[in-house]
Symmetry: C2
Subunit: 320 residues, 2 copies
Amino acid sequence: MAVYTDISDEELEAFVAEYDIGTVVSCKGIAEGVENSNYLLHTDRGPYILTLYERRVEPEDLPFFLRLMEHLAENGIACPTPIHGRDGKVLRELCGRPAAIVTFLQGLWPRRIMPEHCTEVGAALARMHIAGESFPMRRPNNLSVAGWRKLYEHCADHADDVRVGLAREIAGELDVVESAWPTDLPKGVIHADLFPDNVFFKGGSLSGIIDFYFACTDFLAYDIAICLNAWCFERDNSFNVTKARLLLASYSRVRPIDDAELDALPLLARGSALRFLLTRLYDWLNQPEGALVTPKNPIEYLHRLRFHRQVGSPAAYGLD
Amino acid sequence: MAVYTDISDEELEAFVAEYDIGTVVSCKGIAEGVENSNYLLHTDRGPYILTLYERRVEPEDLPFFLRLMEHLAENGIACPTPIHGRDGKVLRELCGRPAAIVTFLQGLWPRRIMPEHCTEVGAALARMHIAGESFPMRRPNNLSVAGWRKLYEHCADHADDVRVGLAREIAGELDVVESAWPTDLPKGVIHADLFPDNVFFKGGSLSGIIDFYFACTDFLAYDIAICLNAWCFERDNSFNVTKARLLLASYSRVRPIDDAELDALPLLARGSALRFLLTRLYDWLNQPEGALVTPKNPIEYLHRLRFHRQVGSPAAYGLD
């Protein structure tokens, strides 16, 4: 949960007047998104989401994220669409922060993942990858393999406070993953954070994807690997191969996964587990004073990493 | 801000099916209310507020609060109205907690208090007091004078950690206020927590009052005294007599303030400042581990208390 900024009524009304969306009826900070402040804004025309970009999000990346959402929505992907102001702009300033208004998406994110959710997610991810093919902007993935060692170095001295032996285990993983990381898989726009709380469902069907603030240009199969970690493990950290099979099968019905991608999947999944282990470890060790967000336990991802490490072939993910 | 409970989609859909309000479209935890978890629930019929009663609120008090909101709404006060389920009930259980759905109120609460807000609040408070006359239920105010010494005793040993001399100053106040507290002023339903974040405005007019979870039966003039503290001090703790005059004048145009109430006002305001000083001090000294709420600074209310202590007559509040 995160609402870092209290917007005054005068500032809000002046801000909304820059758009042709009616007048403010109510505005409530919502417990969604960790990086930014999000508000459910009602005008007399309906609900919208107002986002204030607070931390971590680099202002120079915002045009990429906002244009991407618009591009994907134009290409049939259910995702928030930035609203253009009367001056044509989608990005302006509120309370000294970059701010945007996007469309409101219906649906609830699933708290308990059922196999059918994985089927829906696989297909939606593939559709998003295809829709992204025509997107002209590029953004490097600074949370991929090239960025992990730096994260590790920031955490190494204190990693063993979280679990004895953790620093050494991560160092060993880094060596393996860095040297084996693929270089020539199909690339494109990836979401890079497609966790259950970023996917809405309504009546059993996927109704939308949100939170494109980690989106970047990277291997499409790496996005699949992230989803394996995000959707196919149970709360006890066991791997649910049925969910993985459904996710991969439904993805590949929309966008076939080629052999090189398949072969790379165990390593990409291992790298993806390492990425979330490292960022969670960093957040765990660097909790700001008076933080309103409880950091997530990094060890969950150590278990996932170990699972992928022992995977001999992509068949372990339920593929035939 | 406070959202203490994550409601699963299945539980939510089953819960909402108990009501004739349509089907769930979305549900987002909102940063409102400190004691309870609040969600902005959209169904295909429109927005509602869902509240899970978490802490401090005694389950046996809930029928009083919910019936009061219903009674006030029936008597023309703009406030949330509990929705009755298909079985007629307004109170049921969700995620192991008492829960209710109430109507959604339009408006924004004012971040910067203007004199006109005080005019509106005075009149609304008086209208609420009159509408409460016919409410048959009673609830003692356990945060009035009889409850303060116990709160003080819980804080006394550590009060001076917050400010040197604070324990002694509070003890002296308690002695004065306890012995001088009135016994025979007009009583009725009071809101008891009518701070700016509980009052919504739309287009300059008051559009609703929320959060009746401190409401109780007490001196009506004590509610006025709370509003003097809540609405008529500036951020530098100076007293704005213009705002007080407007608040009191507009209150008394709707419900005349009698002489005994007027005479008691400085003492009631002093007691009300002591009440918020004590509860804030208690919260400050008893911050739960991993709390998602930053407690409010108690010292603000020490300054207000000192202001009322030096008030010689109600004329200091701008009355002619």
